[in-house]
Amino acid sequence: MEHFAVWVAAFLTLGIVSFLYKDNPWYKLSEAIFVGISAGYWFVVLFWDNIYGKFWNGIFPEELIDSAGNVVTREPDYWLLVGAVLGTLMLLRLIPKIGWISRWPLAFIIGCTSGLYLINYFSSNMMRQVEATIMPLVGHWVLDPATSQNAFSAFSGADIFSNLVLVIGTFTGLVYFYFSKEHRGAFGGTAKVGIFFIMITFGASFGYTVMSRMSLLIGRADFLLFDWLGLVR
């Protein structure tokens, strides 16, 4: 069975790669199998983990047996019924006459998610980032335990340069995204510096993306040459 699975995986991998030569039936077959199996897999996972695992087991908890042979019981969680009702209402979209009712659960989901995300993003992605950008440039005062007095501690040249890059990059990048004033003169020049920082950021991000895609290809090459054919020692 293991040999068969390895051959099937190799057959499908090569089928997908064959598209690089040209579109062909082998590729189409591999693609269709991938899409079909993915859809089936996710349906099964969502059914067993959400509908059965969370909902059914939540309302009708299974009795568990611990290592000592004792029965471990759990209380039913009837709040799950609210979710089940809302989930069922969403399916009413399939009946055009009363499809409008499906907006209620959608409104509930959007409201809850917005409320949660607003706090999370405001705290983690805004306030903490603003806080991290406001920093001393050349040094800071630290308490000297020997004298119990504050002493100035200067940063290294590399740290000062790094801090300057961060501050200038953040400021000019924000200026670029300020569209209420025309980008001309000193303001336009600052925005242009911001573009350079943004481009460097995109370049670094693109480089990482290439690295990631190459990693996937290396993984497949390793599978074909090592796991399948055993050509690599």
């Binding site: 969370k54 990482y208 290396i218 040459l225």
Partner: protein, 327 residues
């Protein structure tokens, strides 16, 4: 058709040689490896010369070269110098400070497509945990995450140095499995782990597992490591577990995701970051167990060099072809 048939016969022979004949594979000596590198560079130079003469190559040649650049280094016995980045060092320093017996939560938030990058990280991290007697609690916010964890754990438990420790499931490590609900699972774990994981991956009751029996929430966890390939992943862990519940956490991310995590690292929300295969190789070097992450880095570098070479060749073709004027 004939070529396909010949390739099929050769692959069957190679497979039978492996399975029946015990063929152990090929490895180039350092000399042969260097010769292969020189030949590859010379052929790229030849393509550049052809381009300068106005003879452009097809896209399939580029694909072929990328394939060769990725595959050939797997046969080579030469290695690449791995330089440790500050973010990898930071993660290593963070776990180095943990005492023996520290409780470490590892969340496997990825699936097999991201395994080439994240599995070496997972194995290196768990190797460090097992060799330093940390107590490991595994969970997954992606359905296939706990399976990836089991693959890594099974591989590590077979190593002589780990086998000698005689680690016990439920006492030294535990896999609590997958739980649907994305960041809401993390939110609920802030109140009670057991409410989200009433049983482990194999169906044992939470209260029956000695390792987690007394773990109520994040306040009982000494360090957390998140292996992430997207949503839900490191960002959600930072937003909920780190910023709201004060969990100390490091991240292991795919290279696509890593640039977005540097802001969290800079702000002190992440205690260390491993980015892509490079991060995996660096961490393997730090923990003293060089495996696939390190081995794959040579292929990674070769592929990047080939891509850069073709960018140059493409630009030469663009200039020589005088297309700039036509545009």
């Amino acid at each position: 058709m004939l070529v396909a048939g010949i390739i099929l016969v050769l692959t069957v022979i190679a497979y039978l040689a492996k399975v029946v004949g015990g063929f152990e594979g090929v490895q180039f000596s350092p000399t042969v490896s260097v010769i292969v590198v020189i030949l590859l560079a010379a052929s790229l130079l030849w393509i550049l010369v052809l381009t300068l003469k106005g003879r452009l190559i097809g896209r399939r040649v580029v694909f072929l070269y990328v394939g060769i650049a990725v595959s050939l280094p797997l046969f080579m016995s030469i290695s690449q110098k791995i330089v440790i980045s500050p973010e990898t060092q930071q993660l290593y320093d963070a776990i180095s400070e943990l005492p023996s017996g520290a409780k470490v939560l590892v969340s496997f938030d990825y699936d097999p497509p991201s395994a080439p990058e994240l599995q070496p990280m997972a194995e290196a991290f768990l190797y460090y945990c097992f060799t330093h007697d940390f107590k490991v609690i595994v969970i997954g916010l992606w359905p296939q995450g706990p399976q990836q964890a089991n693959l890594a754990i099974d591989k590590l438990l077979a190593l002589p140095e780990i086998e000698a420790k005689n680690l016990q499931y439920g006492i030294d490590y535990v896999n609590l499995g997958y739980q649907a609900g994305n960041e809401f699972v993390i939110q609920r774990m802030g109140g009670s782990f057991e409410s989200m994981f009433p049983t482990d991956y194999s169906g044992h009751p939470y209260s029956d597992l000695e390792l987690v029996r007394n773990i109520r929430n994040f306040s009982n966890i000494d360090y957390s490591f998140n292996l992430s390939a997207g949503y839900p992943g490191t960002q959600e862990w930072v937003q909920v577990a780190v910023d709201r519940y004060g969990l100390s956490m490091g991240g292991g991310n795919t290279a696509v995701q890593a640039p977005m995590m540097y802001t969290y690292l800079q702000a002190g929300q992440l205690a260390g970051l491993l980015g892509g295969m490079n991060g995996a190789a660096e961490f393997e070097k730090l923990v003293g167990r060089e495996d696939k992450g390190t081995r794959f880095m040579l292929s990674q570098s070769f592929a990047h060099m080939v891509v850069i070479a073709f960018i140059l060749i493409g630009n030469v073709a663009f200039i020589v072809g005088g297309r700039k004027k036509k545009l």
